[in-house]
């Protein structure tokens, strides 16, 4: 039995942004040897959104548990070295703009010629095979294209603003881990590899499939419902004591409603007939929400959550990071970890949430510096001689970490 789940599995990652970097991070957390390919002229774009490419929070989260090779893919020799890496690998992951891998002679059709059993995972914004396949895209655009964003607002908003979040990047990445593992299992049984072609737009659409059916079956274009639910009331985010403090509350059954009324001290209004059952509460939901907020405004959001949960009513603070760190359940689950990065230092990251019996995952490794492992990968994985490595470095095909070079001087 393997020590760690994916020991002996090697992944070559041509990833940028959220999806394929996060995909590799998770496979790395399960014990795979994940090698990220980039170079100084063409780095993962997440390295370029701040002043120091080795000190970006989002990059350093989604690229943990990897090694990094500095390799210039613009030249033929660089592409050949990438091919040599793929030959001794099991999985390729890529989310470069549509058509780029083909221009590098590293698309699935090219790769399968020299590595027939490769598992090749490709993720595009819009997916291959349509008129928009080569359109550059980022997550927040794909939730817009899929219709998801159109539903993500209050009915009175001028337009849907969405959130700070690159949705659906981090769903897509995890669905691709599912795909890689299923394909590995299939290869274990049959010896056959394959090509998986994801559209991130379709990932977003999969999160609202029942709304798609409302259109295809009922011929109705779904409209935003804001924070309300057709089968629960109260159901909303309510303002609490303090600045921009909120608690979400949901009451589904009559039993929960009784518990809710007791928990807030059974004020007079809770006994009014118009709030007696769900149907009438939904009918008078605006007034109901006003009453509920009168109560929540008197308490801190955390107090509201604890009072209601203790009474058996679902309630949750709209968490900020500091509250994530104070959450005793996440603490119990060891859901936040500290990792020491050579440039960023000791920082906090979310742990991978795999609780599988008789499995111990290796400790998390920090995100690599650009080109940090070029020499060891060439030496240990590609069996290159020191002379060969030096020549390729001199030719500008292999690159090593500039930061490490400077520190040596």
């Amino acid at each position: 039995m393997a020590d760690t789940p994916l020991q002996g599995i090697r992944v070559i990652s041509f990833g940028t942004g959220g999806v394929i970097p996060d995909f590799g991070m998770i496979l790395g957390s399960l014990g795979a040897d994940v090698i990220k390919v980039e170079c100084h002229e063409n780095p993962d774009f997440m390295r370029t959104i701040g002043a120091d490419p080795d000190n970006i929070a989002g990059f350093n989260e989604s690229n943990r548990n990897k090694r990094d090779i500095g390799l210039n893919l613009k030249v033929k020799k660089g592409q050949e070295i990438a091919g040599r890496l793929i030959k001794v690998a099991d999985i390729v992951g890529e989310n470069l703009r549509g058509g780029v891998m083909k221009s590098l002679n590293l698309d699935y059709e090219s790769v399968r010629k020299f590595k027939p059993d490769i598992i090749y995972i490709s993720s595009n914004g819009y997916g291959s095979g349509g008129p928009y396949s080569e359109y550059q895209a980022y997550g927040p655009m794909l939730s817009a294209f899929s219709g998801l964003l159109s539903l993500w607002c209050h009915p009175t908003d001028p337009y849907p603003a969405g959130a700070n979040v690159p949705l659906p990047d981090h769903y897509a990445s995890k669905m691709l881990v599912v795909a890689a593992l299923a394909a590995l299992d299939y290869r274990r049984r049959t010896g056959k590899g394959q090509f998986v072609d994801m559209s991130q737009v379709e990932m977003a659409a999969n999160m609202i499939g029942e709304y798609c059916l409302d259109y295809t079956i009922n011929e109705r274009v779904p409209q935003p419902v804001g924070n309300r639910s057709p089968y629960a009331a109260p159901y909303n985010a309510y303002r609490c004591k303090g600045n921009d403090e909120w608690c979400a509350i949901s009451v589904f059954t009559d039993a929960e409603w009784q518990s809710f009324c007791l928990a807030i001290g059974s004020p007079h209004w809770t006994r009014e007939a118009k709030f007696a059952d769900l149907t009438s509460r939904l009918k008078h939901v605006e007034e109901l929400d006003k009453h509920v907020e009168e109560w929540t405004l008197q308490h801190k959001s955390r107090e509201v959550m604890i009072m209601l949960q203790n009474a058996g009513v679902a309630a949750g603070v709209l968490y900020r990071p500091a509250e994530i760190l104070d959450d005793p359940q996440l603490g119990w689950l060891n859901a936040n970890i500290e990792v020491d990065h050579p440039v960023a230092g000791k920082r906090l990251y979310p742990n991978v949430p795999f609780h599988i019996s008789d499995v111990t995952l290796p400790p998390s490794r920090p995100a690599p510096l650009l080109g940090q492992h070029t020499e060891e990968i060439c030496r240990d994985v590609l069996k290159m001689s020191a002379d060969e490595i030096k020549t390729l470095k001199d030719e500008g095909i292999l690159e090593v970490s500039r930061r490490q070079q400077q520190e040596k001087k």
Binding site: I26, F45, A51, D52, G58, E61, G127, G129, G130, Y132, S133, Y135, Y138, P140, M141, A144, S146, G147, S150, W152, C153, H154, Y159, P160, A161, A163, N164, V165, Y171, K174, M175, L176, V177, A182, A183, D185, Y186, Q194, V196, A205, N206, I208, Y211, C212, D214, T216, I217, G226, P230, A237, Q309, I324, Q329, L330, A344, R347, P350, P353, H355, I356
Partner: protein, 405 residues
Amino acid sequence: MSEHQEGALSVYRVLDLTDQKGAFCTKILADLGADVIKIESPGGDATRNIPPFAGDVPHIERSLYFLFRYANRRGVTLNLEVADGKKIFEKLVKKADVLVEAFPPGYMASLGLDYQALRKINPGLVMASITEFGQTGPYRDWKGSDIVNYAMSNTMITSGFGDGAPINLPGTPCCDAASIIAAISILTALYMRGDGGQGRYIDTSVHECSRLALYPWMLPMYSYNLNPGAPPPPPEGRLGAMIYPVYPCKDGFIRVVALTPRQWDGLVHVLGDPEVLKQPQWREFYYRIGNAADIYAVMLEFTTQFTMLELFEKGYQEGVPIVPIYSIEGFTNSLQTEARKFYSEMKHPVVGKFKYPGPPYKWSGTHCEAKRPAPTLGQHNEEIYCKELGFSKQDLAALRRSEVI
């Protein structure tokens, strides 16, 4: 790509005791070919009552939620709370590779059907439990719901307009996050099991998984105090409209994601190079986030001269990512959606024929597509209990009378 009959996971059988928390987990496995048997109480699953309904007729076979989330399964009814029901369940477990359940912590143990008991019947069984907060810990008995889970994912505080009330994300995104993580855990355990190895137990919670699929960067950003050297907007502010601005156009709205100065230049060019947009500091992403309202007011005049598709296509030509904000209708009828055959035709005994959204990926070597509609209540009782477990039709009638199935 649909010429393959076999899916990547066709050799596996999965027992499905999920509700919303795990529906997407077993859907993922079913789309990849696993034989997933949805086990419901004789009265039917509560998820069958989730509105809206096909034709707006409330009916247990017409919930759009159930029709989408539980397609590709076979379905049986079974009362796990009576002795005969437990015996039948144990027979099913013997022949299964995976069991996914989403009951509150302790419920399966109260039936004598927890992992410790089931592994004795089937040592190779991979069992995954998906709960709101986890099997153990101080919040294990707390309750969740879509809006509560989303609140605690640390993403809702960033959703909506800065000066308005935070907005919930439609669908069941936090449940889906837990579902995908559970699917990864299950496949990891199956891969380690190999041929004839031991099974494993998996404990997945919505609470722990939600922020990882929605916004895993938020805690690191907080911990780094944002990227050193960049002007720091608070990561927990509601900045969507500033980071990824939305502009009106002739026939709707577009969203622009211009991160680099070159992409901004492309946008200015798309809009006809108006001088007023050529202010040097506007090329900087963080400057634009800080001055979003002023820039929005100027941009309106230019974006409203074009249609969504004109800006989408011109953006591609000029190297600036622009996208139409589509309704479900716009997405469904888009050229890309049609070219990729995202929807396939499905035929349901009660609802009839309809277009069903497919999985988000195409596979070259194995089947990955919805094959059958969500089961009607107890649709496969005879197929599974008689043909596979050896009950007679008389047995089945008796089980039905005594409300075991």
